[in-house]
């Protein structure tokens, strides 16, 4: 690891100030990607600004038809939150599949979606539920937030403050982990919203990051059942192919995980 300067911000305003004052600052919101990358000397930020201790970024609020999760809330809190389990059990269950207990106790929602790893789990829930991302500057709809591999709509000086998830009628997440990394090799989040619309988000499989499957959404809109997935032709075009899984195999996994998710929802 290269030399770096560590700061612990007490407020979002202080974090923004520290970030703007740094030559090449990075926000630390759990660090499960940033720190290994630094240890491998693949990243060399001049300053690390730790935002996990900021009170206004922490916490879970479930009221009405929305569950709002602070950006610095660890996965373990979402996994075990009675409020989340009551309102969106699929979200709590998804959080419980991320990494291992060590990861879940330190990793955060904001850190995960800001990093936008194509194999991360949370982007599936954010896009699959059509959540709203709140930042210190604006609100961003999930459909506009993820823009590619490790790419988001966030500006350089923009900090996610919370994510508001609409409470669906039914939802579930099914994932097939990469045997080595245990990241999602393919994960499918299905949701039937209270207005009857259906959203299906696929993570781990797309060569441009998390995406919605219009074919699955169409099939499940007319028939919300695992059987409906059988008739859907999932194309391998645009899917990742690597030493662990070809695009064709990932296309099969999308179908299988969609069936599992619908059955579990």
């Amino acid at each position: 690891m290269y030399q770096t300067t560590y700061h612990k911000a007490a407020s979002v305003a202080e974090a923004v100030s520290l970030l703007s004052g740094a030559e090449d600052g990075k926000l630390l919101a759990g660090g499960h990607t940033l720190l290994p990358t630094m240890k491998q000397r693949l990243a060399s930020p001049s300053d690390i600004i730790d935002i996990t201790g900021i009170a206004e970024l922490n916490g879970i609020d479930a009221s009405g038809d929305t569950v709002t999760v602070g950006a610095a809330t660890p996965h373990a809190d979402v996994e075990t939150s009675a409020a989340v389990k009551g309102a969106i059990p699929a979200l709590a269950a998804l959080a419980g599949t991320i990494g291992d207990p060590h990861v879940r106790n330190v990793g955060t929602l904001g850190g995960s979606i800001a990093n936008a790893d194509p194999a991360a789990d949370y982007p599936g829930a954010v896009l699959g539920l059509g959540a709203t991302v709140h930042t210190n500057q604006r609100t961003i709809a999930a459909d506009d937030f993820f823009t590619g591999l490790f790419e988001t709509a966030l500006n350089d000086d923009e900090i996610i403050t919370s994510v508001a998830f609409p409470v669906p009628a039914q939802a579930a997440y099914a994932k097939f982990p990469n045997p080595a990394s245990r990241y999602s090799m393919t994960g499918v989040f299905v949701a039937k919203m209270k207005d009857g619309s259906v959203r299906v988000a696929v993570t781990g499989a797309g060569d441009d990051g998390v995406f919605r499957s219009s074919a699955l959404e169409a099939a499940l809109s007319s028939n919300w059942s695992a059987d409906a997935v059988d008739g859907v032709d999932i194309s391998a075009d645009g899917l990742l192919s690597d030493i662990h899984a070809s695009a064709a195999y990932r296309a099969n996994l999308i179908k299988q995980m969609a069936k599992r998710a619908v059955a579990a929802a």
Binding site: M1, Y2, Q3, Q40, R41, F176, P179, A180, S181, Y183, D230, I243, H244, A245, S246, Y249, N252, L253, K255, Q256, K259
Partner: protein, 788 residues
């Protein structure tokens, strides 16, 4: 045996320090004024080095020096050697290319060391290593044996035309060809044994210190065999003469073969310590370095043909293997696919004719050498996949086909050198079948099918040659060293005992099990016995630990030394008790006159020996004896492993639902320790079968160079194992031991793959059987992939 003797399930003496974090590993050793080394490594698989510019690096903070290969050559440091000479079938010696500890002309694999930066801190050394500018002229590279043997393939070494190191053979080709042509049935398979990265928990490390006053070197390092390291560093690399070099291998966190070898980094640290004026030089591998520098394992491509007569008896076996050696010949690489592989192709079976030829091939990859099992897993995988497939082709039960061909009489001379001394193959097969409820499998398969799962069962009957090895025998086959072991037993004046052994423990529990052997003989508590190992200044000499040899060879040396100590102690006791020497018996730590209550304790004997006030006429003072033990034969552990899997046809995901290991290890000193060895070996074998793969792309870049992509088995990847033991005592050594360190890794891969192929009805499946491969094979077999 006593509460702590042979056969007792004694808890490990070493666990207290390991579990509480008090183990002392090489990286824990602190020497005053130590510097830190960081290596500049090739980013190309094959390239000519145009120049190395270290001027910027030398000017960086904390940098002591930057050293390169031309300086190493100028100082007379020798090239790395291969310690086992193999000749091709035409009689020509093996074609070995030059292997330098630092390469300044042509690099041949990603990760090869080019230069070393010595700095005040580890970070400073790494920063400066990045500032060393190497200009490369990239050369075409080759990563697989098939590509390396093609006409026009990139050539690695001028010494090895066509990248061929040797083309070796064993057995009677004419007899095997005749059997194949006259056979009632021939089973033919193309079998790949996947490349593995060893991944010991503790990365390799070296801390070298040169004392200019005494012109003496000390090396702390992660070694399985510190004396062999000293020998090779002295005799071949010319770092220092043996009496001016001390090698210490303190606590070592796993080896699996990868820490047998003397690598470039250890050589360079020793040389560099003198070069910079005697300050110590420390290097500890980063995990990413381990992936591209620790010797890899396996990587065979094989075609095998097995001939059966009309009664389903094997009448001939023909094997052609191409072995990937990587870019250089590692220390014992040459013997792995020859004398540790082809000599085991008879398995547990009576096979009248065997022929095997092996081509050893250079590629632009990390050197390949012995890894847990070393040749024997590769042999077992070939033999046992052939047996299972043959049974399916012949329409007979795979366990029946094996039993029909089992060797029943011992000693048994195979057509490929080995003479099996003892065994009872029906017994461990019966134990395994009983433990897994073989007869109940069809019902379990039907029940799984009702849940939409494909259930399969697979068998593997492995044999291995351990306890290496009779020195004269291996010498005649090309080995550069003898493979005996030594021990010294010191009884202290207060009666406590120190055992100095040339074996080295890096996870094997020697501090407990070796003490149990002493406790068994003397009836003393194991806490009064200390096991001393891993330091060339303390221990007389030794050949180290690998090849499951520490029990059969290392403990045998201890027994021999103990016999001498006991003989002298009995003389002292008889003298003190005014009894006849022949009447003295050893019981519960005391030397007694048989049938009386007259006795002397170990303390009495020790005090008498060292005060020397009242010893028998003419007896030397002291009570210390040494012994060297050279085995008379290999030992032949064998067993039957059975694996049962369930596969989700929708995803190809395999779950091991049942795994039984029934082993014959001969005498067992500590069943708990042996079970631990078996469990660990099974997990490594299951890792190879389902998860692990060192994958190179065509340009020689390692694609699975971190745990994000190289899949190490985790606890939830494996079931709770059922371990059984059957026993035939090894007649070749005093304790009747065979060795248990590698069996799990040797026997398990074919059991797993045979179970998976049974479940999916397709024999065409290679390791690791990833979900995608299994899913594709299910589709190729025409089975429904998405059961509802």
């Amino acid at each position: 045996m006593g509460a702590e003797g042979i056969g007792a399930r004694v808890k490990r003496k070493e666990d207290k320090r390991f579990i509480t974090g008090l183990g002392k590993y090489t990286d824990d050793v602190e020497l005053p004024r130590a510097t830190h080394a960081a290596f500049v490594r090739s980013e190309h698989a094959h390239a000519r080095i145009g120049g190395i510019d270290a001027s910027a690096a030398k000017a960086m903070p904390g940098v002591v020096d930057v050293l390169t290969g031309d300086q190493l050559v100028a100082d007379g440091i020798g090239n790395l050697i291969c310690g086992w000479a193999i000749s091709s079938k035409d009689g020509s010696p093996m074609n070995m290319g030059a292997y330098r500890a630092l390469e300044h002309e042509i690099v041949r694999h990603v990760g090869q060391a080019i230069a070393v930066v010595i700095a005040e801190t580890d970070s400073q050394a790494r920063d400066a290593a990045e500032a060393v500018s190497v200009s490369y002229e990239e050369l075409p590279a080759v990563a697989s044996v098939e590509d390396a043997l093609k006409a026009g393939a990139p050539q690695l070494h001028p010494e090895a035309a066509g990248n061929l190191i040797y083309d070796w053979e064993i057995g009677d080709k004419a007899a095997v060809d005749s059997a194949l042509s006259g056979a009632a049935h021939v089973t033919r398979m193309e079998i790949t044994n996947n490349r593995l990265a060893p991944n010991a928990m503790e990365p390799r490390a070296a801390l070298a210190s040169y004392d200019p006053a005494e012109e003496h070197y000390t090396l702390y390092t992660t070694s399985q065999n510190p004396h062999v390291a000293r020998l090779v560093l002295s005799a071949f690399y010319a770092v220092a003469p043996e009496h001016k070099l001390r090698v210490i291998a303190p606590d070592v966190g796993g080896g699996f073969g990868s820490k047998i070898y003397i690598y470039p980094e250890e050589i360079v640290c020793l040389w560099a310590s003198k070069k910079i004026g005697g300050r110590p030089v420390k290097w500890t591998a980063q995990r990413a370095e381990s992936f591209v520098t620790d010797a890899h394992g396996r990587d065979h491509v094989t075609v095998a043909e097995m001939a059966f007569d009309a009664d389903n008896k094997i009448i001939g076996f023909k094997v052609n293997t191409k072995a990937n050696f990587g870019a250089y010949m590692s220390l014992f690489s040459s013997c792995v696919p020859t004398y540790l592989y082809a000599t085991l192709l008879s398995g547990q079976y009576n096979i009248p004719a065997i022929y095997c030829d092996v081509q050893a091939v250079y590629t632009n990859t990390v050197p390949v050498d012995a890894y847990r099992g070393a040749g024997r897993p590769e042999a077992t995988y070939v033999v046992e996949r052939m047996m299972e497939t043959a049974a399916r082709e012949l329409g007979v039960d795979p366990t029946d086909l094996r039993a029909k061909n089992f060797i029943q009489e011992f000693p048994h001379q195979t057509p490929v050198i080995m003479c099996y001394d003892a065994g009872g193959y029906d017994a461990h097969m019966a134990a395994a079948k009983e433990a897994i409820d073989y007869a109940g499998f069809p019902a379990r398969k039907a029940e799984a099918a009702s849940r939409g799962k494909l259930r399969g069962i697979g068998t593997s009957c492995y044999i291995e040659a351990c306890g290496i090895a009779p020195s004269a025998a291996v010498g005649s086959l090309g080995a550069g060293v003898g493979l005996w072991e030594s021990a010294e037993v010191r009884v202290n004046p207060v009666g406590t005992i120190e055992i100095l052994t040339g074996s080295h423990s890096h996870g094997q529990s020697h501090e407990t099990t070796f003490a149990q052997v002493v406790a068994d003989r003397l009836g003393v508590p194991i806490d009064t016995v200390a096991i001393v190992h891993g330091d060339t200044d303390k221990v007389q000499f030794g050949m180290g630990t690998y090849g499951s040899r520490s029990g059969a060879v290392g403990m045998s040396a201890i027994v021999k030394a103990m016999e001498k100590v006991e003989a002298k102690a009995k003389k002292i006791a008889a003298h003190l008790l005014e009894a006849d020497e022949g009447d003295i018996v050893i019981e519960n730590g005391e030397f007694k006159v048989a049938g009386t209550d007259q006795a002397k304790t170990m303390t009495d004997i020790g005090l008498a020996a060292y005060t020397a006030h009242n010893l028998p006429e003419g007896m030397e003072p002291g009570l210390k004896e040494g012994a060297f033990y050279d085995p008379t034969n290999f030992t032949f552990p064998a067993g039957t492993y059975m694996c049962e899997v369930e596969i989700d046809p929708a995803t190809g995901q395999t779950e091991i639902v049942n795994f039984v290991a029934a082993d014959d290890f001969g005498t067992i000193i500590n069943p708990m320790v042996v079970e631990g060895q078996v469990h660990g070996g099974l997990v490594q074998g299951i890792g190879q079968a389902l998860l692990e793969n060192a994958v190179y792309d065509d340009s020689g870049q390692l694609l699975s160079g971190s745990y994000m992509d190289y899949c190490m088995p985790r606890a939830d990847d494996v079931p709770s194992f059922e371990v059984r033991h059957t026993t035939t005592v090894c007649p070749g050594n005093p304790l009747g031991m065979k060795g248990c360190g590698e069996a799990g890794a040797i026997g398990s891969p074919p059991a797993v793959i045979n179970a998976v192929t049974d479940a999916i009805g397709n024999n065409d499946l290679s390791m690791p059987a990833t979900p995608e491969k299994v899913w594709s094979a299910i589709g190729a077999a025409g089975m429904p992939q998405a059961a509802e």
